[in-house]
């Protein structure tokens, strides 16, 4: 059993363990969960630092160059004239996934630390939480589309209950909206996966296969199959590959979320309890970005090039649209939810540029936004747990009352608005540089897109600083008198969460090579797909 399997199934085992434990041990569940997440983070860190880079370890479309590969024959079914149904248990990581695996482990640890606020039905909560953990890591590690899809759908189930049962006032609406939105995307994706299965054959066994890596190589498509790149099969007058790309793209665009598929996000984020908001923003959105790179772009590169302009446009619209909406909010959590839309727009823009800088920037933005959004949602949670209110106008001058907290808020806000020295700056700058140089390098995106997207940075400063001024500065004024006693400064556990996140944002801002070095050879290999 390889490390990746341990990483994936460790939480599941302990989740079952929690289910079997008596209710009397309620108090220990959270410590157990933190422990599991910590072990997971240690394993992930070990993987990250032992990850080999260079030309021999690019991954992407070279199965042999993935690391920590585990391959087991899972399902072999003789289906007569179709040959053998081949589904593998195939795990492996490359430069695109290793960073996200590490990020997931980190975010899960933070989320488990912020699960202190959960007071009811602890057994169910932590069991579902650990199930979710398994699914998330599984998504980033699987290289078999069938396996990927199972983990992908497995994320939905615990999330639905976690939002719907432990969420805020409108939790049921938010949960069902989230569930249906994502399901809508993924069921069509299942059709594409089936189509890919019928088109792709394993060069070794000759069977049809769900292997993700084989699907990236045009030579593995059998002649005349539906997604064959050479034959250009038409469905209702449209190219089958184009339809496949668009369906997969929409499925992941919903997750990212890209305008106009984003409206589940503000509701889900606002209604979810803090740890779930953290997971949603920290990892779930990255599954979308990861899927777009790995599956939509990786399997359909020819279509991706021809639709790059539209991808870039959606990215730019998301950036500006999210920022404008964030400016209009009075609910702090909703503001941050919309800021996520804006920040994730940079990911799409960077990917669409198909330049090394743009994709590096996009990956950096995913990781950077991963822990910065975690920090932001945690900050909202700090206030919400104390007074159960999030309206910006109900608070003023919090800096007088909670100086340490305000310090962390300033770090989080300035890091998020892209102050140099923090990771988001590097990420956004490189996404923009990639988008701008795209026209000169490969002619895909017009230069005005980068110019317009740069305005998003300005708007970002607008909503964050405005919030800072309204909520934290000035003389102390709260909606209710009794809040003054409730709004105490951070406790040790909260500092324990916020400090490493702030430090991480700073470290990656000053030494972005820590991330770039791990990714760059995979990204260069990835770009070759489009040559």
């Amino acid at each position: 059993m390889g490390l990746l399997s341990i990483l994936i199934f460790l939480p599941l085992v302990f989740g079952m363990f929690i289910l079997l434990m008596p209710k009397a041990l309620n108090h220990y569940f959270k410590y157990l969960t933190v422990g599991v997440s910590l072990v997971q983070l240690l394993i992930a860190s070990w993987l990250y630092f032992n990850f080999k880079t260079g030309d021999g370890f690019t991954g992407v479309n070279q199965l042999a160059q993935y690391q920590w590969v585990e391959k087991l024959d899972w399902i072999r079914l003789d289906v007569g004239s179709f040959g053998t149904l081949q589904i593998d248990y195939l795990l492996g990581v490359d430069g695109f996934s290793i960073g996200l695996v590490w990020l997931s482990a980190l975010v899960m640890l933070i989320a488990s630390l912020s699960s202190w606020e959960i007071k009811s039905n602890l057994k169910g909560y932590f069991a579902l939480f650990l199930l979710l953990d398994t699914a998330i890591i599984g998504v980033f590690c699987s290289l078999d589309l069938f396996l990927f899809y199972i983990f992908y759908e497995l994320m939905l189930l615990p999330l639905y209950f976690l939002i719907g049962m432990w969420g805020g006032v409108r939790r049921e609406y938010a949960a069902i909206k989230f569930f249906l939105y994502t399901l809508f995307g993924s069921i069509f994706m299942l059709l594409v996966i089936a189509g890919l299965y019928l088109s792709v054959t394993d060069p070794e066994t000759g069977n049809h296969t769900f292997n993700l890596v084989h699907a990236m190589n045009p030579a593995n498509y059998s002649a005349g199959s539906i997604f064959s790149a050479l034959d250009n099969i038409q469905i209702l007058g449209f190219s089958a590959r184009a339809i496949g790309f668009i369906i997969v793209f929409i499925a992941f665009a919903i997750k990212v979320p890209v305008f106009p598929f984003h409206t589940w996000l503000p509701d889900a984020h606002v209604e979810a309890p803090t740890p779930i908001s953290i997971i949603l923003a920290g990892i779930l959105l990255k599954v979308g970005g990861y899927g777009i790179i790995r599956i939509a772009y990786g399997i359909f590169p020819d279509i991706a090039i021809s639709l790059s302009w539209w991808m870039g446009l959606l990215g730019v619209i998301s950036i500006i649209y999210g920022a404008m909406n964030a400016l209009a909010q009075t609910d702090l959590k909703r503001l941050i939810a919309y800021s996520s839309v804006s920040h994730m727009g940079f990911v799409l823009l960077g990917i669409a540029s198909l330049t090394s800088e743009g994709i590096n920037g996009a990956m950096m933005q995913m990781i950077s936004h991963g822990f910065l959004s975690v920090m932001l949602f945690f900050i909202v949670g700090v206030i919400y747990n104390r007074v159960h209110d999030r309206d910006i106008y109900n608070f003023r001058g919090l800096a007088n009352q909670m100086p340490v907290f305000t310090g962390f808020v300033m770090i989080a806000f300035f890091a998020s608005l892209g102050l140099p020295g923090f990771s988001a700056f590097i990420a956004e700058a490189f996404s923009l540089i990639g988008a701008f140089s795209s026209q000169s390098l490969n002619g895909l995106l017009p230069r005005w897109m980068a110019v317009v997207a740069a305005i998003g940075i300005l708007l970002g400063a607008g909503y964050f600083l405005w919030t800072l001024q309204r909520m934290f500065f000035g003389t102390l004024r709260l909606k209710k008198e009794e809040w003054k006693a409730q709004l105490v400064d951070l406790n040790f556990r909260e500092k324990l969460v916020l400090f490493p996140l702030a430090a991480l944002a700073l470290v990656l801002g000053i030494m972005p090579s820590l991330v770039f070095n791990v990714m760059s050879s995979s990204i260069n290999q990835f770009i070759l797909l489009f040559k």
Partner: protein
Amino acid sequence: MESIFTPYMLFNFALIAITAPFLAFIFSLIFKRFAAVIGIASIGLSFISSLILFIGVWKKPVLHFSFDWIQLANFKINLGFLLNDLTVIMLLLISFIALLVHIYSVEYMRKDDLKYRYFAYLSLFCFAMLGVVLADNLFLVYIFWELVGFASYLLIGFWFKKEKAVLANKKAFIMNRIGDVGFLIGLMILLTQFHTLDIDVLFGQGNLIASSFVKNDIWATPFGLMPAYWLSIAGFCFFAGAIAKSAQFPLHTWLPDAMEGPTAVSSLIHAATMVAAGVFLLLRIAPLFNQLVLTSMAAIGLFTAFMAASIAVTQTDIKKVLAFSTISQLGFMILAVGVQDNAAAIFHLVTHAFFKCLLFLAAGMVIHQLHHLKEKYQENFDDQSLEVMGGLRKLMPITFIVFVAASIALAGLPFTSGYLSKDAILVSVFEWADERGGIYWVFPLLVSITSWLTTFYIFRVVFKAFFGEFRLPQILGKTAEELKITDPNRWMTIPVIILALFCFALFFAYNPFNLESSWIYGSWNNHPHHTGMYPILVPIYINVLSFALIFMAYQAYAKNTFAFNNQASWYYKLSLNQWYFNSFYDVFLIKILMLKTKAFYWFDQKIIDGFIHLLSNIIIIISKITSWFDHYIIDGLVNGSAWLVSRLGIWLRGMHSGKLQHYFIWMLLIFLSFFIYKLII
């Protein structure tokens, strides 16, 4: 001349100069009690290193140190230092003034509980500012550029309980961000065209900019082609960055508001150093600008200089006057860059840094002492208003002397540093206009008027604050003995006296009337030496009227022999209301932006989410219809047929009554039916 310092030593001194303030920032936050000591020690160290660097680099070949930082497929970005004349003069200027301001701040912030934060932020600022100057590539410049803005944000909002202060720092940061977006776009253009952002490679000897050319509306570089207008756009983008940082029209409105910060901060950041960073940037990348950009630069600089000077004439808040004066003087520098007299721009930058810093510090001394009175008597008056001052020359003689020294330098009277540097700009503008003729004569005309306005507004302050009677006792209804104020202690007076010395021409030129003898000006030989009559005539013509204006101001504000009665005129109101820029921005930009955000949110809620809800409602309605169909039609059919069968059964059951007569009748009926049927067929 061979330097006594090896490049390696100089590199280390540069490293010390920049890291010392950064370490001070961190240690000030940890060892709160020693924050002031740490701050002064670190900036002192920076100053000494800067001095050594100055000796080692000035008028010697450029030194460039560069280390790998980020390496990607198409280009890499390095970290490094670029040490040339411009760098070292700025280093020396910044560290020296910062050192004096640090010392001054000890007394100025003595009573503040959070003064460790103040010193920490100040150190952060010094770190960032020195970084802007030392950085060897534009990406790094951008990083420090934004950090400077961040430090300025922290310091403007230092008194975060003051509503005005936190509004001002937000405004400052966001307006600077507008410029930063321009800067960033400029970076993207250069990076795409040249695959490097290294300043030395781009703009140094045998630079890449020079190897690019515009032909047939295509801007060609060794790495790529772009339509020619991108060259102008690049220039305008960087210029936008400078406009924001150096508070030029139309992004100047943040600077007067930034006066909400502590006065020592205003003097260091918003007068001497940070605002000069815009000018510095333009000087660093000067070869990039084409004629279109340069002319626009000159026009913007000129307009800003004039507008700000015209506003300064009527302001009653002493810091506001100085703030607008700063904007106006920065306009002069931008104008100098626009007319391509870079030597005059850097020279004025340096001289201005001294006298404007001094003006702020001296004003700060007055404000500081008045503030003490305010706290002592728990009175409510505006301690920055010129209306409460007056007659301070007897009460605060040192303050008076240094303020006057700085004022005459600002006015550009003979024997002062301002005389040399401002007239250098004026002369260049005259010559520039002379070459072009026609409409360009507006430039010398307006710049002369601005120059006179400058003299007038600063002497208005001098006479209102230091001459006549001390007006505060009258306002508070107290006697002059009760409200005794004096010069503050040595922590404040010594720095200002040192600064006052630098207001005189002797430090900058051995001949106070000859610009060419100035060591700063002379070292930039990229501009042809002035010839003809302008260098002689312009100073005379400017100064003669200046003296007349000083006399007029003396009569009006010190002697009160006459008063200006134009308060109702449109131009007075225009000036008093700062040309209505703030109201304009509030109404036309902020309000409209807010409406737009509301519209976006409405769109999100009603249209996009509305569409989703519509979709879900349609599905629900369809499902209801299906359910109805299922219940009434499908199930109806099933149930109906069952019912039919059962009814039929019940009816048929009725036949089996067991009575013989009934059976007989049924038989008869069936027989008859059969018979009739046969008959018909």
